[in-house]
Amino acid sequence: DLEPPDLLEIFVGSLVSEFSRASGSGPALDRWFSELDVSCVLRNDQEEEEATGSLVGRWARALTVMARALIATLQDQEDNLTGRLCQLGRLMEASFSKIQLAQFAQATFSKMLAFANALADKPWTRPTDKFSGLMQLRICINDVSDILVPLYNEVFLLADYSKEIIESIVKEIDDVFWVEPY
Protein backbone atom coordinates (compact mmCIF):
# COMPACT_ATOMS: atom_id res chain seq x y z
CA ASP A 1 0.00 0.00 0.00
CA LEU A 2 1.14 3.48 -0.82
CA GLU A 3 1.42 5.93 2.04
CA PRO A 4 -0.05 9.43 1.66
CA PRO A 5 3.28 11.07 0.72
CA ASP A 6 3.76 8.54 -2.11
CA LEU A 7 0.24 9.10 -3.34
CA LEU A 8 0.89 12.82 -3.38
CA GLU A 9 4.09 12.33 -5.37
CA ILE A 10 2.34 10.20 -7.97
CA PHE A 11 -0.49 12.69 -8.07
CA VAL A 12 1.84 15.61 -8.77
CA GLY A 13 3.74 13.56 -11.33
CA SER A 14 0.52 12.80 -13.16
CA LEU A 15 -0.47 16.43 -13.20
CA VAL A 16 2.90 17.50 -14.59
CA SER A 17 2.76 14.86 -17.26
CA GLU A 18 -0.77 15.79 -18.22
CA PHE A 19 0.17 19.43 -18.61
CA SER A 20 3.08 18.71 -20.89
CA ARG A 21 1.69 15.93 -23.03
CA ALA A 22 1.49 16.95 -26.66
CA SER A 23 -1.54 15.10 -27.89
CA GLY A 24 -3.13 13.45 -24.90
CA SER A 25 -3.29 10.24 -26.84
CA GLY A 26 -1.56 6.99 -25.97
CA PRO A 27 -2.01 3.23 -25.77
CA ALA A 28 -4.85 3.45 -23.26
CA LEU A 29 -6.84 5.83 -25.42
CA ASP A 30 -6.09 3.75 -28.52
CA ARG A 31 -7.53 0.66 -26.86
CA TRP A 32 -10.47 2.55 -25.43
CA PHE A 33 -11.47 4.13 -28.74
CA SER A 34 -10.88 0.91 -30.67
CA GLU A 35 -13.06 -1.10 -28.32
CA LEU A 36 -15.80 1.49 -28.75
CA ASP A 37 -15.59 1.22 -32.55
CA VAL A 38 -14.31 4.76 -33.13
CA SER A 39 -10.61 4.36 -33.89
CA CYS A 40 -11.15 6.84 -36.72
CA VAL A 41 -11.49 9.63 -34.14
CA LEU A 42 -7.82 9.23 -33.21
CA ARG A 43 -6.46 8.76 -36.73
CA ASN A 44 -4.77 11.59 -38.59
CA ASP A 45 -6.35 10.56 -41.88
CA GLN A 46 -9.88 11.35 -40.71
CA GLU A 47 -10.16 14.06 -43.36
CA GLU A 48 -10.07 11.38 -46.02
CA GLU A 49 -13.16 9.66 -44.70
CA GLU A 50 -16.44 10.96 -46.03
CA ALA A 51 -18.97 12.02 -43.42
CA THR A 52 -22.00 9.72 -43.37
CA GLY A 53 -24.97 8.99 -41.20
CA SER A 54 -23.43 5.68 -40.18
CA LEU A 55 -20.24 7.41 -39.04
CA VAL A 56 -22.29 9.81 -36.95
CA GLY A 57 -24.21 6.85 -35.55
CA ARG A 58 -21.01 5.10 -34.50
CA TRP A 59 -19.73 8.29 -32.90
CA ALA A 60 -22.99 8.86 -31.01
CA ARG A 61 -23.13 5.30 -29.69
CA ALA A 62 -19.50 5.50 -28.55
CA LEU A 63 -19.99 8.84 -26.79
CA THR A 64 -23.04 7.49 -24.96
CA VAL A 65 -21.22 4.38 -23.73
CA MET A 66 -18.18 6.45 -22.72
CA ALA A 67 -20.26 8.83 -20.61
CA ARG A 68 -22.27 6.04 -18.99
CA ALA A 69 -19.18 3.96 -18.21
CA LEU A 70 -17.21 6.85 -16.72
CA ILE A 71 -20.11 7.98 -14.53
CA ALA A 72 -20.64 4.42 -13.31
CA THR A 73 -16.91 4.17 -12.57
CA LEU A 74 -17.16 7.29 -10.42
CA GLN A 75 -20.08 5.81 -8.52
CA ASP A 76 -18.17 2.54 -8.04
CA GLN A 77 -15.22 4.46 -6.61
CA GLU A 78 -17.46 6.10 -4.04
CA ASP A 79 -19.05 2.79 -3.05
CA ASN A 80 -15.68 1.09 -2.65
CA LEU A 81 -14.34 3.78 -0.36
CA THR A 82 -17.10 3.58 2.23
CA GLY A 83 -15.77 2.59 5.63
CA ARG A 84 -12.47 1.24 4.35
CA LEU A 85 -9.99 3.94 5.29
CA CYS A 86 -9.39 6.48 8.00
CA GLN A 87 -10.85 9.87 7.22
CA LEU A 88 -7.67 11.46 5.88
CA GLY A 89 -6.73 8.41 3.84
CA ARG A 90 -10.23 8.21 2.45
CA LEU A 91 -10.19 11.83 1.36
CA MET A 92 -6.79 11.52 -0.29
CA GLU A 93 -7.66 8.28 -2.04
CA ALA A 94 -10.98 9.70 -3.19
CA SER A 95 -9.32 12.84 -4.47
CA PHE A 96 -6.65 10.88 -6.32
CA SER A 97 -9.06 8.44 -7.97
CA LYS A 98 -11.46 11.14 -9.06
CA ILE A 99 -8.75 13.31 -10.55
CA GLN A 100 -7.42 10.32 -12.48
CA LEU A 101 -10.92 9.76 -13.77
CA ALA A 102 -11.37 13.44 -14.63
CA GLN A 103 -8.12 13.48 -16.61
CA PHE A 104 -9.11 10.39 -18.55
CA ALA A 105 -12.58 11.82 -19.14
CA GLN A 106 -11.16 15.07 -20.43
CA ALA A 107 -8.83 13.31 -22.86
CA THR A 108 -11.70 11.15 -24.06
CA PHE A 109 -14.26 13.90 -24.55
CA SER A 110 -11.76 16.34 -26.05
CA LYS A 111 -11.02 13.87 -28.83
CA MET A 112 -14.67 13.07 -29.41
CA LEU A 113 -15.81 16.69 -29.48
CA ALA A 114 -12.97 17.75 -31.76
CA PHE A 115 -14.16 15.06 -34.14
CA ALA A 116 -17.74 16.35 -33.92
CA ASN A 117 -16.51 19.77 -34.98
CA ALA A 118 -14.51 18.22 -37.79
CA LEU A 119 -17.69 16.61 -39.11
CA ALA A 120 -19.08 20.07 -39.73
CA ASP A 121 -16.19 20.67 -42.14
CA LYS A 122 -16.39 17.35 -43.95
CA PRO A 123 -18.01 16.84 -47.34
CA TRP A 124 -21.49 15.36 -47.15
CA THR A 125 -23.48 13.94 -50.02
CA ARG A 126 -26.43 16.28 -49.54
CA PRO A 127 -27.35 19.22 -47.30
CA THR A 128 -30.19 17.19 -45.79
CA ASP A 129 -27.74 14.42 -44.86
CA LYS A 130 -25.47 16.93 -43.18
CA PHE A 131 -28.35 18.56 -41.35
CA SER A 132 -29.72 15.31 -39.94
CA GLY A 133 -26.20 14.14 -39.03
CA LEU A 134 -25.39 17.32 -37.14
CA MET A 135 -28.76 17.26 -35.38
CA GLN A 136 -27.98 13.77 -34.14
CA LEU A 137 -24.61 15.03 -32.88
CA ARG A 138 -26.36 17.78 -30.99
CA ILE A 139 -28.97 15.50 -29.46
CA CYS A 140 -26.29 13.07 -28.33
CA ILE A 141 -24.17 15.82 -26.77
CA ASN A 142 -27.21 17.20 -24.93
CA ASP A 143 -27.95 13.73 -23.54
CA VAL A 144 -24.33 13.21 -22.53
CA SER A 145 -24.16 16.58 -20.80
CA ASP A 146 -27.04 15.45 -18.59
CA ILE A 147 -25.30 12.14 -17.86
CA LEU A 148 -22.10 13.94 -16.82
CA VAL A 149 -23.71 16.28 -14.28
CA PRO A 150 -22.80 14.01 -11.32
CA LEU A 151 -19.16 13.94 -12.41
CA TYR A 152 -19.14 17.71 -12.67
CA ASN A 153 -20.74 18.22 -9.26
CA GLU A 154 -18.53 15.67 -7.53
CA VAL A 155 -15.13 16.58 -8.92
CA PHE A 156 -15.84 20.30 -8.82
CA LEU A 157 -15.62 20.19 -5.03
CA LEU A 158 -12.18 18.58 -4.81
CA ALA A 159 -9.48 20.76 -6.32
CA ASP A 160 -8.94 23.74 -8.59
CA TYR A 161 -7.32 21.52 -11.17
CA SER A 162 -10.31 19.20 -11.28
CA LYS A 163 -12.57 22.21 -11.54
CA GLU A 164 -10.60 23.47 -14.50
CA ILE A 165 -10.67 20.08 -16.20
CA ILE A 166 -14.40 19.74 -15.86
CA GLU A 167 -15.03 23.33 -16.89
CA SER A 168 -12.84 22.68 -19.91
CA ILE A 169 -15.04 19.74 -20.84
CA VAL A 170 -18.19 21.77 -20.41
CA LYS A 171 -16.70 24.68 -22.35
CA GLU A 172 -15.67 22.40 -25.18
CA ILE A 173 -19.20 21.03 -25.38
CA ASP A 174 -20.45 24.60 -25.44
CA ASP A 175 -17.91 25.60 -28.09
CA VAL A 176 -19.03 22.89 -30.46
CA PHE A 177 -22.53 24.31 -30.57
CA TRP A 178 -21.84 27.98 -29.92
CA VAL A 179 -23.70 30.27 -32.27
CA GLU A 180 -23.24 34.00 -32.71
CA PRO A 181 -26.34 35.84 -31.47
CA TYR A 182 -28.07 37.80 -34.19
Partner: protein
Protein backbone atom coordinates in the same frame (compact mmCIF):
# COMPACT_ATOMS: atom_id res chain seq x y z
CA UNK B 1 -36.28 -8.16 -30.02
CA UNK B 2 -34.04 -7.22 -27.09
CA UNK B 3 -30.30 -7.70 -27.22
CA UNK B 4 -29.19 -10.08 -24.48
CA UNK B 5 -25.72 -9.44 -23.14
CA UNK B 6 -24.15 -12.39 -21.38
CA UNK B 7 -22.48 -11.67 -18.06
CA UNK B 8 -18.70 -11.83 -18.20
CA UNK B 9 -16.88 -12.70 -14.98
CA UNK B 10 -14.31 -10.15 -13.91
CA UNK B 11 -10.82 -11.24 -14.88
CA UNK B 12 -8.06 -11.75 -12.33
CA UNK B 13 -6.56 -8.41 -11.35
CA UNK B 14 -3.07 -9.68 -10.52
CA UNK B 15 -1.28 -7.91 -13.35
CA UNK B 16 -2.79 -4.53 -14.14
CA UNK B 17 -0.72 -4.03 -17.26
CA UNK B 18 -1.61 -7.44 -18.66
CA UNK B 19 -5.25 -7.01 -17.70
CA UNK B 20 -5.42 -3.70 -19.52
CA UNK B 21 -4.25 -5.42 -22.69
CA UNK B 22 -6.74 -8.24 -22.46
CA UNK B 23 -9.94 -7.85 -24.41
CA UNK B 24 -13.09 -9.12 -22.70
CA UNK B 25 -14.52 -12.50 -23.77
CA UNK B 26 -17.40 -10.70 -25.47
CA UNK B 27 -16.12 -7.68 -27.36
CA UNK B 28 -17.75 -4.40 -26.38
CA UNK B 29 -17.19 -3.29 -29.96
CA UNK B 30 -19.26 -6.17 -31.27
CA UNK B 31 -21.95 -5.45 -28.68
CA UNK B 32 -22.10 -1.81 -29.73
CA UNK B 33 -22.37 -2.77 -33.38
CA UNK B 34 -25.04 -5.31 -32.49
CA UNK B 35 -27.07 -2.57 -30.83
CA UNK B 36 -27.24 -0.73 -34.14
CA UNK B 37 -28.07 -3.89 -36.09
CA UNK B 38 -30.79 -5.08 -33.70
CA UNK B 39 -32.41 -1.72 -33.14
CA UNK B 40 -32.46 -0.52 -36.74
CA UNK B 41 -32.25 -3.72 -38.73
CA UNK B 42 -29.34 -2.15 -40.53
CA UNK B 43 -30.96 1.22 -41.06
CA UNK B 44 -32.85 3.13 -38.40
CA UNK B 45 -35.07 6.19 -38.89
CA UNK B 46 -32.25 8.57 -38.05
CA UNK B 47 -30.06 7.08 -40.75
CA UNK B 48 -32.57 7.50 -43.57
CA UNK B 49 -31.71 11.04 -44.47
CA UNK B 50 -34.95 12.05 -46.13
CA UNK B 51 -37.16 10.60 -43.41
CA UNK B 52 -34.95 12.10 -40.75
CA UNK B 53 -34.91 15.52 -42.37
CA UNK B 54 -38.66 15.39 -42.79
CA UNK B 55 -39.09 14.47 -39.14
CA UNK B 56 -36.94 17.32 -37.92
CA UNK B 57 -38.31 19.99 -40.22
CA UNK B 58 -41.93 18.94 -39.76
CA UNK B 59 -41.87 18.35 -36.04
CA UNK B 60 -39.45 21.00 -34.91
CA UNK B 61 -39.42 23.91 -37.31
CA UNK B 62 -42.31 23.99 -39.77
CA UNK B 63 -45.35 24.85 -37.66
CA UNK B 64 -47.69 24.68 -40.65
CA UNK B 65 -47.03 20.98 -41.16
CA UNK B 66 -48.63 18.69 -38.61
CA UNK B 67 -49.69 15.67 -40.64
CA UNK B 68 -50.28 12.25 -39.17
CA UNK B 69 -47.42 10.69 -41.11
CA UNK B 70 -44.85 13.09 -39.69
CA UNK B 71 -46.17 12.30 -36.21
CA UNK B 72 -45.62 8.61 -36.84
CA UNK B 73 -42.08 9.31 -38.04
CA UNK B 74 -41.36 11.38 -34.95
CA UNK B 75 -42.71 8.63 -32.70
CA UNK B 76 -40.58 6.04 -34.47
CA UNK B 77 -37.50 8.22 -34.04
CA UNK B 78 -38.22 8.70 -30.34
CA UNK B 79 -38.72 4.97 -29.83
CA UNK B 80 -35.53 4.26 -31.70
CA UNK B 81 -33.59 6.63 -29.46
CA UNK B 82 -35.06 5.19 -26.27
CA UNK B 83 -34.27 1.60 -27.23
CA UNK B 84 -30.78 2.51 -28.38
CA UNK B 85 -30.10 4.40 -25.16
CA UNK B 86 -31.23 1.42 -23.10
CA UNK B 87 -29.02 -1.05 -24.97
CA UNK B 88 -25.98 1.23 -24.82
CA UNK B 89 -26.48 1.74 -21.10
CA UNK B 90 -26.30 -2.03 -20.68
CA UNK B 91 -23.01 -2.15 -22.60
CA UNK B 92 -21.60 0.58 -20.34
CA UNK B 93 -22.77 -1.24 -17.21
CA UNK B 94 -21.10 -4.44 -18.36
CA UNK B 95 -17.91 -2.47 -19.05
CA UNK B 96 -17.87 -1.20 -15.48
CA UNK B 97 -18.92 -4.49 -13.90
CA UNK B 98 -16.07 -6.22 -15.76
CA UNK B 99 -13.62 -3.66 -14.38
CA UNK B 100 -12.67 -2.65 -17.91
CA UNK B 101 -13.44 1.05 -17.55
CA UNK B 102 -11.40 1.39 -14.36
CA UNK B 103 -8.48 -0.46 -15.97
CA UNK B 104 -8.56 2.01 -18.87
CA UNK B 105 -8.44 4.95 -16.47
CA UNK B 106 -5.57 3.35 -14.55
CA UNK B 107 -3.60 2.48 -17.71
CA UNK B 108 -3.98 6.06 -18.93
CA UNK B 109 -2.67 7.38 -15.62
CA UNK B 110 0.13 4.79 -15.41
CA UNK B 111 1.37 5.89 -18.81
CA UNK B 112 1.55 9.44 -17.50
CA UNK B 113 3.54 8.32 -14.47
CA UNK B 114 5.97 6.32 -16.60
CA UNK B 115 6.59 9.35 -18.74
CA UNK B 116 7.51 11.32 -15.63
CA UNK B 117 9.86 8.63 -14.40
CA UNK B 118 11.57 8.40 -17.77
CA UNK B 119 12.43 12.08 -17.59
CA UNK B 120 10.68 12.88 -20.83
CA UNK B 121 8.64 15.64 -19.27
CA UNK B 122 9.37 19.30 -19.86
CA UNK B 123 7.49 21.80 -17.76
CA UNK B 124 5.34 24.00 -19.91
CA UNK B 125 2.42 26.30 -19.46
CA UNK B 126 -0.93 24.56 -19.34
CA UNK B 127 -2.59 24.06 -22.65
CA UNK B 128 -5.72 22.47 -23.91
CA UNK B 129 -5.83 18.96 -25.24
CA UNK B 130 -6.96 18.66 -28.81
CA UNK B 131 -7.12 21.35 -31.46
CA UNK B 132 -8.00 24.91 -30.44
CA UNK B 133 -11.56 25.99 -31.05
CA UNK B 134 -11.93 29.69 -30.22
CA UNK B 135 -15.46 30.99 -29.97
CA UNK B 136 -16.84 32.65 -33.04
CA UNK B 137 -14.02 31.49 -35.30
CA UNK B 138 -14.20 28.82 -37.96
CA UNK B 139 -16.94 26.35 -38.73
CA UNK B 140 -18.82 24.78 -35.84
CA UNK B 141 -21.47 22.11 -35.86
CA UNK B 142 -24.05 24.54 -34.48
CA UNK B 143 -23.20 27.13 -37.12
CA UNK B 144 -23.64 24.54 -39.82
CA UNK B 145 -27.02 23.52 -38.41
CA UNK B 146 -28.09 27.14 -38.49
CA UNK B 147 -26.86 27.58 -42.05
CA UNK B 148 -28.51 24.40 -43.29
CA UNK B 149 -31.88 24.98 -41.66
CA UNK B 150 -33.31 27.23 -44.40
CA UNK B 151 -32.14 24.76 -47.05
CA UNK B 152 -33.81 21.84 -45.29
CA UNK B 153 -37.04 23.70 -44.66
CA UNK B 154 -37.20 24.87 -48.27
CA UNK B 155 -36.56 21.33 -49.50
CA UNK B 156 -39.30 19.94 -47.26
CA UNK B 157 -41.81 22.51 -48.43
CA UNK B 158 -41.01 21.92 -52.08
CA UNK B 159 -41.56 18.20 -51.67
CA UNK B 160 -37.98 17.03 -51.42
CA UNK B 161 -34.92 17.06 -53.69
Amino acid sequence: MALRLAAVPESAAADLSAAANTLPCISYRDSIRSVAAVVSGGRGPLFQSEDSASTWSSSSYASDCSGHSSGVSAAAAAGFRALTAHELREVARRMVADGYAQRMVQAFDDAATVEVLEGEVVLRARRRLGPPNPRGAGVTAAGEVGRLLPVVVAAARSGGE
